[in-house]
Structures are given as C-alpha cells and as structure tokens.
C-alpha cells in the first residue's frame, strides 16, 4: 500500500514539475493521471494488486475529498447572495443542459460509429 501511495505521489510530483516546466494550463494531478496511465499501458499487464486496492480505496471515498473545499463556499455567501439569481440559474440550467446535450451527443455518436 505504501508502494502504491508512493507511486501515486511520484506521478503527481512529476505532473507538477512537467506542468511548471512546460507552462501547461493543466494542473499537476491531471498530468500525473496521464503519466500513470501511460506507465500502466507501457507495462502492458494488469495493474499491480496493491495499486488496484489503493486506487479503489481512494476513489471509493472520492466525494469526501471535495468536502473541505466545498465548505469554503461559506466564504462567498455574501457574493453568492448578492448575485443569486444569475448565478443559480447559470449554474443549474447551464450544468443540467450541458449534461443533457453532452449525453445525447455522445450516445448518438456512439450508435453511429459503433
């Protein structure tokens, strides 16, 4: 488990370094995800069981990891309250219409192209 955690952190660290060195607009962890994916692909076999277990453990509680940042909404309550109408409409209608649009488009394309 420690080995798997070290592998995840090493990919994240490498991602941070790559993002800064190449001035990429994407955050380090997302590049780390690409690096780990490429490493698994190059290795070619099934992912090591310890990595499987650690990834499942972390991702099984992925929602929890957003909670501390989510509580930060309390800092912006006055701002959110001031412009509540455009903000809530744009967030709710914008997000849900984008979900319907993307889902329909993807399903249509998947049926067309196999």
């Amino acid at each position: 488990m420690i080995g798997a955690l070290a592998a995840l952190l090493a990919c994240q660290l490498a991602g941070e370094v790559v993002a800064r060195a190449l001035h990429l607009p994407v955050p380090g962890p997302v590049i780390g995800m690409v690096l780990l994916f490429l490493a698994l692909l190059l290795r070619g076999r099934e992912a090591p069981p310890a990595l499987d277990a650690t990834a499942d453990g972390l991702l099984g509680s992925l929602g929890l990891l957003f909670v501390p940042a989510g509580v930060g909404v309390v800092l912006y309550l006055p701002l959110l309250a001031r412009d509540w109408a455009p903000l809530s409409l744009a967030v709710v209608v914008g997000t849900l219409s984008a979900i319907a649009f993307t889902g329909r488009l993807a399903q249509w394309l998947l049926r067309r192209l196999g």
């Binding site: 995840l8 952190l9 990919c11 994240q12 991602g15 607009p25 994407v26 955050p27 380090g28 962890p29 997302v30 995800m33 780990l36 994916f37 698994l40 692909l41 992912a47 990834a55 972390l58 991702l59 509680s61 992925l62 929602g63 929890l64 990891l65 957003f66 909670v67 501390p68 940042a69 989510g70 509580v71 930060g72 909404v73 309390v74 800092l75 912006y76 701002l79 959110l80 109408a85 455009p86 903000l87 744009a90 967030v91 709710v92 914008g94 997000t95 849900l96 219409s97 984008a98 979900i99 319907a100 649009f101 993307t102 889902g103 329909r104 488009l105 993807a106 394309l109 998947l110 192209l113």
Partner: protein, 239 residues
Amino acid sequence: MSELGEIWVYLAREPLAALTATLLAWLGALRLQRACGRHALANPVLFAVALLAAGLLLTGIDYRSYFEGAQFVHFLLGPATVALAVPLYRQWAVVRRAAGVAAVSVIAGGVFAAGVGVAIALALRAAPEVVASLAPRSVTTPVAMGIAERIGGLPSLTAALVICSGITGAALGPLVLDWARVRDMRARGLAIGTAAHGIGTARALSVSAAAGAFSGLAMGLNALATALLLPLLWRLAFG
C-alpha cells in the same frame, strides 16, 4: 466554565477537531444517503458540506482554522486524481474504441456548458466579472480558477461556483440523463464528467465502472480543452 473555555479554544485551534468533524460529517452524510435509498438527489458531498458549513456559521469558527485540519483530507485529492488512471486503464479496451467520440463530445459539451452559463448571466445583466467567473465553472477547481483570472473573473467566486456546479451535476445529472433517455453508460459518464468534473465522477464511479472511467476521462479532457479554448473564444467574443 473557564476550563470549558480553554478546552473550546484548544479544539477550535488544533487541526484534530476539524479533521474529526469532517470524517464524522461524511459518515453522517453516507448514512443520510442510505436512508434516502441512495437516490441521486441525496448527494453525500452536499449533505456533508451543508452540515459542516452550518457548524462553522453557528459556532463562529472561521473557515481558515477549519481548513487547518481539513487540509489533510483535501491533500488526498491530488493522489486520488492520479488514481483515476487505474479505472481508466481497466476499462481501456472499451474506452479505446470510443476515444474519438469521447473527444468530440467532451469538447462540444465543454463549450456548450460555458456558453449557456455566460448567455444566462448576460441575459440577467450580471456584472462582467460575474459573467467571467461563471464561464469556466464546469472544470476542475485549479484549472477553473486559472482561466477565471485570465479572462477577468474572480477566481475565488469561480471556486465556489465549481463546487456548486459539481454538486448540481452529481445530484440532478442522473435524473436529467434518464429524462433525456441517455442509457449508454459510456455516454452518461462522459456527460457527467464534462459538466460536473470530480464531484460528478465520484457519483459515476459509485454507479458503474464504465461510467466512472468515462467520467474521469471526460473530466481530464475537458480541463485540457477548456483551458486551451475558453481564453481564445473569450477574446473573440468580448475582446
């Protein structure tokens, strides 16, 4: 009384209490979710955030001292994002065949999400910095804040809007997809990951391995697409 006061000062200052409270709020939120029959609307992120935010407002503890403790949970978001490579790799045989479709849908969906949000805000005559803060709200927080800064938005407002969009997409997205008759798990994952980033992906992973893999992929692709395209489109539209 003064002893109680001292204990209170200790608890409010040390990271231990905030960390414990975060985990307990999460366990309570999961219980509440189960009590609601795991309905999509009963989103545990929403419950836990509401519980803790109410706690902070009631006790007058400021967010910064809360975050001193909660940052240990927050830190795991980085390695967890890296770990999304594992379900993606497991589903690679399925993902590979749909890679082109995924790229087209995510780019179109990402532009659509930003466009509709901006159009609604403009129609309601929101201030320019509020409109710019809304545009990047569908992508993962650090990318969204960076884009907001570049196009004249308020990064901190964007951070709050990203969380609100994620919770909205995770809680209501599955119902909207049912209503739109999107039944293909790959398409459902792509839609949720595009519009509701990691919070949506957390929900997708709990429902289906395929949806989770496609949602994680969509989240990463949309972060890249929006970071590259939105500042350009913004300059064309408003520059």
